[in-house]
């Protein structure tokens, strides 16, 4: 088992190397950013000097090597716009994004798990049809539109919530719903189909026939056994939460990583984008590894070769 995890862990740097190569090639193809860094009235000579100073006149493989050496030291270069370390900027914004993602995840679980359980207890009942419809809708609604509609209804018309920004817990609610809906839909379906499957097992029938209380059957016998895939998929959904937070943060002016990335795209601030992609990838890779480990401990039947 340890050998499996060590080899999985060793794959992470390889994957990161592939990602950085892809980003590097893209940026290389796009041409050097020197022209963007200098004022418009710069002379040809000044541009040439800066190109040499930054190493853009070197061949591709040397530039890539230098890039990797810097990257290993956590140096993604300085932001063209702000003139400070790109990685620093990204790490500064990360907590806000994680706060939003965690809030969305908690909200998604609070809604999805009971809904999934209830619909599995009475398949094709009213609540089940409602839950199935809702989760289909939750998957189909683009989250940026949901965000706009929530602002329209709860902030503009009912004036219950602030339109955007941060500060109180009220600021967190609309963005968290926006971001959490798709994940919530996914978890509802998962809980429901797992519970349905487990409720047909022989040991459930045995428990029923010996007259066990219904609540104990559902929660202790069935739900606990359906938890393993639910937990793992839930953690894996964090990746889509990070992706979804890009647009959600822009709509609600949430000062997180997503807002930083979108602004950097408009400014063509490549170091920030590179650092952001890299940090996101590291986060997701570690999360996937953690899921694997957790899976092993939660379900001792699983053996890795």
């Amino acid at each position: 088992m340890w050998r499996y995890f060590i080899s999985r862990f060793l794959q992470i740097p390889i994957v990161l190397l592939i990602i950085s190569l892809m980003i590097f090639v893209l940026v290389y193809v796009a041409g050097d950013p020197v022209a963007m860094m200098l004022p418009a009235e710069a002379t040809q000579q000044e541009i040439q000097n800066l190109r040499i100073a930054l190493g853009f006149d070197q061949p591709f493989y040397i530039q890539f090597w230098n890039y990797i050496v810097d990257l290993v030291q956590g140096d993604f270069g300085e932001s063209y716009k702000y003139g400070v370390s790109a990685l620093g900027l990204v790490l500064e914004r990360l907590p806000a994004t994680l706060e939003l993602a965690t809030a969305s995840m908690i909200m998604a679980i609070i809604i999805a798990v009971p809904l999934g359980i209830i619909s599995a207890i009475r398949p094709n009942g009213i609540i089940d049809l409602f839950a199935t419809g809702l989760s289909a809708l939750g998957k189909a609604i683009p989250n940026f539109w949901l965000g706009i509609m929530l602002i329209l209804v709860f902030a503009v018309n009912l004036k219950l919530m602030p339109v955007s920004g941060t500060g109180s817990w009220k600021h967190l609610i609309l963005p968290a719903i926006t971001l959490g809906t798709a994940v919530s839909a996914e978890i509802t379906r998962l809980v429901r189909s797992n519970m349905l499957e487990i409720l047909q097992q022989d040991y459930i029938r045995t428990a029923r026939s010996k007259g066990q209380k219904k609540s104990i059957i559902i929660f202790r016998h069935a739900f606990r056994n359906s938890l393993v895939p639910v937990i793992t998929i839930t953690i894996l959904q964090m990746a889509s939460l990070v992706g979804g937070s890009l647009i959600t943060e822009m709509i609600f002016s949430w000062p997180g990583l997503g807002q930083l990335i979108i602004q950097a795209v408009y400014d063509k601030d490549l170091p920030i984008i590179q650092a952001a992609v890299f940090v996101t990838a590291v986060m997701i890779l570690l999360m996937n590894l953690a899921t694997d480990v957790l899976y092993r401990f939660l379900d001792p039947r699983i053996k890795y070769s």
């Binding site: 329209l152 890009l246 996101t280």
Partner: protein
């Protein structure tokens, strides 16, 4: 699916009438099965309506979608105060008819949705077949590439590409395709891994059939139904990706009409003119919902193993 491709391989002289009867029966069976599923039928109706809307847009749309009319700016939909039947869903900040823009916008969604799925499918099928068939080092390398793509959210990857590339429809199609092929590669690799151990594949190999022919003739036809299902469902997520990117100003560029652009323009007027940002979103949601319904029904039809989990 499978039987028709085998019929072609056999290349026996087939009576044309016989064949048309067969396909007619097949179509009848298809319709009977479809009518048993409510969501499947609803999905198909929505998908067909969307296609009709996209193809016949110039005949259906009451106005030119780009026509600016400064005398009729921000007219609400016909059932609200101040609305008129002339503009059923109202007009936007430049007096353009929203219904016409939604009808034209369906073209972009469908074109980008379908073509980027084709790009993604082509890349994914090739990588998946090679990875599963050869195994070993090649498989290992391709799977690390898959891991790399999986560890960056698709939308973020698209954004990175679009920062350095010039925006436009072809760029958008290629970027979405290139960033979403992994789904196909993983699925096809998995199926190829088990298919290559089958007797008939081993037999073909002993007879000296080339690897390419084995993949093309003996493995690919057996994964076709999975490819169809994944492709259908991918169109839905691609449409959302396209509209998200256009919403951010990185995808489709005006004056071309896209639902994502309409939403980003409408967002500015959400406090005063709600209809601007509402109807394009409804269009996206209904479209995506229809494709998902149809795709899931198709999956249950083609893959009996998954039946019961989603119906």
């Amino acid at each position: 699916m499978k039987s028709s491709s085998h019929a072609e391989v056999a290349a026996l002289p087939v009576d044309k009438n016989d064949r048309s009867i067969k396909t007619k029966n097949k179509f009848k069976i298809f319709l009977t099965k479809l009518s048993r599923s409510k969501t499947g039928s609803v999905g198909l109706v929505i998908v067909l309506a969307l296609c009709v809307m996209a193809v016949f847009a110039p005949w259906i749309a009451p106005y030119n979608p780009g026509k600016i009319d400064t005398t009729n700016m921000l007219v609400p939909p016909f059932w609200s105060d101040g609305g008129s039947v002339a503009h059923i869903l109202g007009t936007d900040n430049l007096g353009r008819d929203i219904l016409s823009r939604i009808i034209y916008g369906s073209r972009i969604s469908l074109i980008v949705g379908i073509l980027s799925v084709l790009v993604a499918g082509a890349i994914g099928v090739v990588f998946g077949l090679i990875s599963g068939y050869y195994g070993g080092l090649v498989d290992n390398m391709i799977m690390r590439l898959v891991d790399a793509f999986l560890s960056v959210p698709t939308i973020l990857f698209c954004i990175v590409f679009l920062t350095v590339l010039d925006p436009g429809i072809p760029t958008l199609i290629i970027v979405i395709g290139v960033t979403s092929w992994v789904l196909y590669a993983r699925m096809i690799r998995g199926e190829t891994l088990s298919l290559r151990e089958r007797e008939y594949v081993k037999a073909a190999r002993t007879m000296g059939v080339s690897d390419f022919q084995i993949m093309k003739r003996h493995i690919l036809p057996n994964v076709t139904s999975s490819i169809i299902v994944i492709s259908t469902l991918s169109v839905a997520s691609t449409i959302i990706t396209e509209s998200s990117l256009s919403f951010l100003g990185l995808g489709i560029q005006p004056p071309i009409v896209s639902w994502g652009i309409m939403l980003s323009e409408g967002k500015e007027y959400v406090a005063t003119s709600w209809w601007l940002a509402t109807f394009p979103g409804v269009a996206i949601t209904v479209t995506v919902l229809g494709i998902i319904f149809f795709g899931e029904w198709l999956r249950d039809l083609l893959d009996p193993r998954s039946q019961g989990t989603n119906s």
